[in-house]
């Protein structure tokens, strides 16, 4: 699958196989509390499955400086 990381700079990576969101985030070393995963405009919960032939975006929620 195609994973677009918006952290906030955009970069793209490929991950093989059908995977659960939580497993994808673990593989990327991302804390699920700090990101939102989006597929085709819909937000995904950590238990959702993502098919190998699809595409998701992982958007960082953390902003700094106050």
């Amino acid at each position: 699958m195609r994973v677009v990381l918006r952290n906030p700079r955009r970069r793209e990576i490929q991950i093989a196989g059908n995977r659960q969101v939580l497993a994808i985030l673990e593989e990327l070393g991302l804390n699920p509390e700090t990101v939102v995963v989006v597929q085709g405009g819909a937000l995904l919960t950590r238990d959702a499955y993502v098919a190998d032939d699809s595409s998701i975006e992982v958007i960082s929620a953390i902003s700094g400086g106050m």
Binding site: E33, T34, V38, A42, S63, G64, G65, M66
Partner: protein, 310 residues
């Protein structure tokens, strides 16, 4: 995972509430909880004029969106801090959002209002040789106060969320900043005629929950980080707190609410301060010359001195 309300496929999960919602019910949940925060903390009423400080980021635009939908009388305030292209783009996002909701946006440019020779936050921090975030925070607090008073607003609302508040709390506890701890609150009542009441209606929502609302609503916010925020301690504290939260859902909320309910009243009683007026600008301060005037005067002198040397 299923929506708690309609059993449809869930979009947003909140482990600390043991709940999940589909997109439409999440929007309802978010707005109703903002309203609950406003009412339970007596932040403001429908007759009051509210100035919403907006940065073009997700939290402040999301807050303005919610308050508009709840029928409050709001005006946006964007402070142009003069941080290069970042300020240009964040101002554009703020203006576009204001247009989209038919809202009024006040823009204050610090370079025109306070700096000289186009001195913004970047030049200020260089002249003072200090981290930009501290000068930026002080400037934003000063400008928002001043604009709220000059334009006759009762309340100043900011988009600070649970992650912001717990990161600030952690920083203040690590350094035992008793004065700051005494003043950390979702509602800061006016203690001087020139100070508006300050409120943080999103203080119970995590950054992920705030972002989820903004994404579902399709709000176009500035995604890029302020270039000065790189390496900011607040980000380090947020990472640490989110590592704990991931293992122990509800830890951040418990940290903040426990402080507000149990520790803050004790610290507040011991840290009562008298406010006077700055001899230079007339804004409220605990000193003769306020921290804002001291900082900008020092930066202007340093800049003139450096230019003289060249």
């Amino acid at each position: 995972m299923r929506c708690l309300k309609c059993r449809d496929k869930a979009s947003v999960e909140m482990r600390r509430h043991n709940a999940a919602y589909c997109a439409p019910h999440y929007v309802d949940f978010f707005r109703s909880h903002v309203l609950r925060n406003i009412k339970s903390k007596k932040m403001f009423g429908h007759s009051e004029k509210i100035l919403v400080a907006v940065s073009g980021g997700k939290d402040s635009l999301g807050l303005w969106d919610v308050l508009t939908h709840l029928g409050y009388k709001t005006t946006g305030l964007y402070i142009d801090l003069g941080i290069g292209e970042y300020s240009v783009r964040s101002r554009e996002k703020s203006e576009a959002f204001a247009d989209s909701i038919g809202g009024k946006l006040v823009v204050k440019d610090v370079r025109e209002a306070y700096g000289e020779d186009e001195m913004g936050i970047t030049e200020l921090s260089k002249a003072l040789r200090r981290a930009p975030c501290s000068g930026c925070g002080l400037t934003k607090r000063y400008v928002t106060n001043q604009v709220a008073h000059e334009l006759g607003f009762d309340v100043l609302a900011t988009g600070h969320n649970l992650d912001d508040e717990t990161a600030t709390l952690m920083g203040n506890v690590l350094h035992w900043q008793m004065g700051y701890l005494a003043r950390q609150s979702p509602v800061l009542e006016s203690t001087h005629v020139r100070l508006a009441r300050k409120v943080k209606p999103l203080y119970t929502f995590t950054e992920r929950e705030s972002l989820s609302y903004v994404l579902i609503r399709g709000i176009d916010y500035i995604e890029e980080e302020c270039p000065n925020a790189h390496g900011a301690l607040s980000i380090l504290y947020k990472e640490a707190l989110n590592t704990i939260e991931n293992q122990s859902p509800g830890a951040k909320s418990s940290f903040l609410m426990g402080f507000l309910d149990r520790a803050k009243p004790l610290i507040e009683a011991a840290e009562d301060v008298e406010l006077a007026e700055c001899i230079q600008c007339g804004e409220p301060t605990t000193a003769e010359l306020c921290a804002f005037c001291r900082m900008w005067d020092r930066a202007k002198s340093a800049r003139r001195l450096n230019r003289g040397k060249i």
